[in-house]
């Protein structure tokens, strides 16, 4: 019996082992390999693993030695920063608003929910194609997209170049505005669904108790509901934040790197320098930095999630 149980345990382990091995190779092995490329001289079609230390990283960050690469990388990091901030604000703000609205026992809730969430079911590529059309500025005499609409509405003064405008306010490129609007359009439904699940998990008696204690409708939300939603906001920020740190498909389809890298992000830089420029070592260095940024957000989150689970 005892040896039989042990035998069964071995079978169980043997069944999960292939997955563990595959992930060990495809995730950790390949990351290590990319790390190796990032400290190599590989710059061309032929692999060259000659060790050059942190030269590739230094080039990305050094204004003197890096030339265009440094400019591009800095711009991409700033763009990622602003994109992330605005994308998160829009998703959390509107996601919460829509969830609270839908939580008012409205008729047709299912229809509204379906409409707010459907963008999550389609590809970033499709989103990029449509929003590229919407925000395409056209020319002064032949306006397109929103500019054409603004012209028809007599709002000529609101026309601008959208994602083709290279203007920067400090390190913030205004061309990012259409891009994070498109991204938010796609992901607001996700935060809404998270908040709605959270709201539905709050027992009615808890809100009722608040009302009995004299809290107004808004008061119940402020003092009872919102504190309970805090863990959801946290999860949403992490999940959306890590998506925006590695964003690629949407921007690549919608605007590409933009004028003077106005909408460039490390994901696009990595893709172009590696697969179009054959600068493998530089591409690897960029992807290692992307990985570090994501890991900084995700690893504490995973630890936090598992701690909580143990407590439960």
């Amino acid at each position: 019996m005892n040896s039989n149980a042990r035998h069964e345990r071995w079978i169980a382990f043997a069944m999960i082992l292939p997955s563990i091995i595959l992930l060990a190779i495809f995730v950790y092995g390949f990351i290590g390999w990319t790390g190796l490329v990032s400290v190599s001289k590989w710059d061309g079609i032929q692999p060259d693993y000659t060790f050059v230390g942190l030269d590739n990283y230094r080039q990305l960050f050094s204004r003197v030695a890096g030339g265009i690469a440094a400019t591009r990388f800095y711009t991409g990091l700033w763009n990622t920063f602003f994109f992330t901030i605005f994308f998160l604000l829009l998703c959390v703000g509107f996601g919460l608003l829509l969830a609270i609205l839908l939580d008012q026992k409205v008729k047709g809730e299912g229809i509204f929910r379906t409409i707010y969430l459907f963008p999550m079911a389609i590809s970033f590529v499709v989103t990029g194609v449509v929003w590229q059309w919407i925000f395409a500025p056209g020319t002064e005499s032949r306006p397109r997209g929103i500019n054409a609409l603004l012209g028809q509405l007599g709002l000529e003064h609101l026309k601008w170049g959208w994602y083709t405008d290279p203007t920067a306010i400090g390190p913030f490129h205004v061309a990012l505005i259409p891009v994070f609007i498109a991204a938010a359009w796609q992901m607001i439904g996700y935060t809404m669904a998270m908040y709605l699940a959270g709201l539905r998990a709050i027992p009615d008696d808890l809100r009722e108790a608040g009302r009995v204690d004299g809290a107004s409708g808004i008061g119940v939300y402020r003092h009872i509901v919102m504190p309970l939603l805090r863990p959801i906001t946290f999860s949403a920020l992490i999940v959306l934040g890590h998506i925006s740190l590695k964003i690629f498909d949407l921007i690549y389809t919608m605007t590409g790197k933009g004028p003077a890298f106005a909408t460039d992000v490390p994901g696009i830089f990595m893709f172009e320098t590696t697969f179009q420029g054959n600068h493998y070592a530089q591409g690897a260095a960029i992807s290692v930095i992307m990985l570090l940024m994501v890991a900084l957000v995700i690893i504490p989150y995973l630890i936090y999630s598992f701690r909580q689970e143990v407590e439960l």
């Binding site: 990351i31 359009w185 998270m194 909580q308």
Partner: protein, 284 residues
């Protein structure tokens, strides 16, 4: 019980409708542009107006291409997407179910370390594995083939499918497993007669999630498949929209063709889609 006009409730509905309309702007753009002729989309004064008639010419062009303009049709790519997505979804769902079973009912020593390490794989920027991945696929003879991309999606799908099934099976009482073990059922018996029959909703969630994600994926597809005739629809659509002669009506029709399969799944199975979505934030 007469319904009185309540300004607060009216405001709630007004906002809900307003947001719904804003969310549907891209749908309007897709539908109206795709139903126009090329001449119609060229007329910028009618950019936002409804099409003059239901012209399906752009769908035909997006589907089978316009050879004389060098425009490739998307039909083969749509088929590729199915050939890619269906096997990858099924295999990763089966692997996830088995892994979830082991991690919830047969915890081995070190499982608490292995599982988070597996999960980390679903958050990484895939840029950090792309070059070794393409080299390895080429070495094992899967470079530039749909099978290679299927393998890629199976492997990188393991974390999420395992997570969903593990959380799902954790809900199954251990007493049931124990009772069946006393009855003499082994590892596979317990899976076959206890867990698997209860798994249908779990499978639906995972299959919908994987189908949607793999269908919509772009980065792996564009880096592993160079031949246009092998590429899935996301890559083909991006090529169509990036081409020099931009026939917006055809591009929009193509975008609709690319979006319809996952949208159908979403509209029919929305409830399960949401469950998959929420599972992605780690705590199931």
């Amino acid at each position: 019980m007469t319904a009185r006009f309540n300004p607060a409730r009216a405001a709630v509905y007004a906002l809900l409708v307003l947001f719904a309309l804003i969310f549907l702007i891209p749908v309007y753009v897709l539908l109206s542009s795709s139903l126009k002729t090329f001449a119609e989309v060229q007329d910028l004064s009618k950019l936002w107006s409804l099409p003059q008639g239901l012209n399906l010419e752009s769908f035909r062009a997006a589907w089978s291409g316009i050879p004389e303009k060098g425009l490739r049709g998307l039909a083969p790519n749509l088929l590729n997407s199915f050939k890619l997505t269906i096997p990858a979804t099924i295999i990763s769902a089966m692997l996830g179910s088995m892994n979830g079973y082991v991690l919830s009912k047969w915890k081995f020593r070190g499982a608490n370390v292995v599982f988070p390490l597996m999960l980390f794989g679903m958050f990484i920027p895939y840029q950090a594995v792309l070059v070794p991945l393409t080299i390895t696929l080429a070495r094992v003879g899967l470079g530039g083939s749909l099978w290679g991309l299927i393998l890629v999606h199976v492997v990188y799908g393991i974390p999420i499918t395992t997570l969903i099934f593990r959380n799902y099976y954790t809900e199954v009482p251990n007493e049931m497993v124990e009772a069946s073990r006393i009855d003499g059922a082994g590892f596979f018996g317990i899976y076959r007669y206890i867990l698997f029959p209860l798994s249908l909703p779990g499978f639906v969630v995972v299959i919908i999630w994987q189908f949607t994600n793999i269908w919509n994926e772009f980065l792996f597809a564009v880096t592993t498949l160079q031949k246009p005739e092998l590429q899935p629809i996301t890559v083909a659509l991006r090529n169509l929209s990036g081409s020099q002669i931009k026939e917006w009506n055809v591009v929009m029709a193509g975008a609709i063709i690319a979006a319809v399969p996952t949208l159908i799944v979403y509209i029919i199975m929305g409830r399960y889609f949401i469950r998959g979505l929420l599972a992605g934030s780690v705590k199931g």
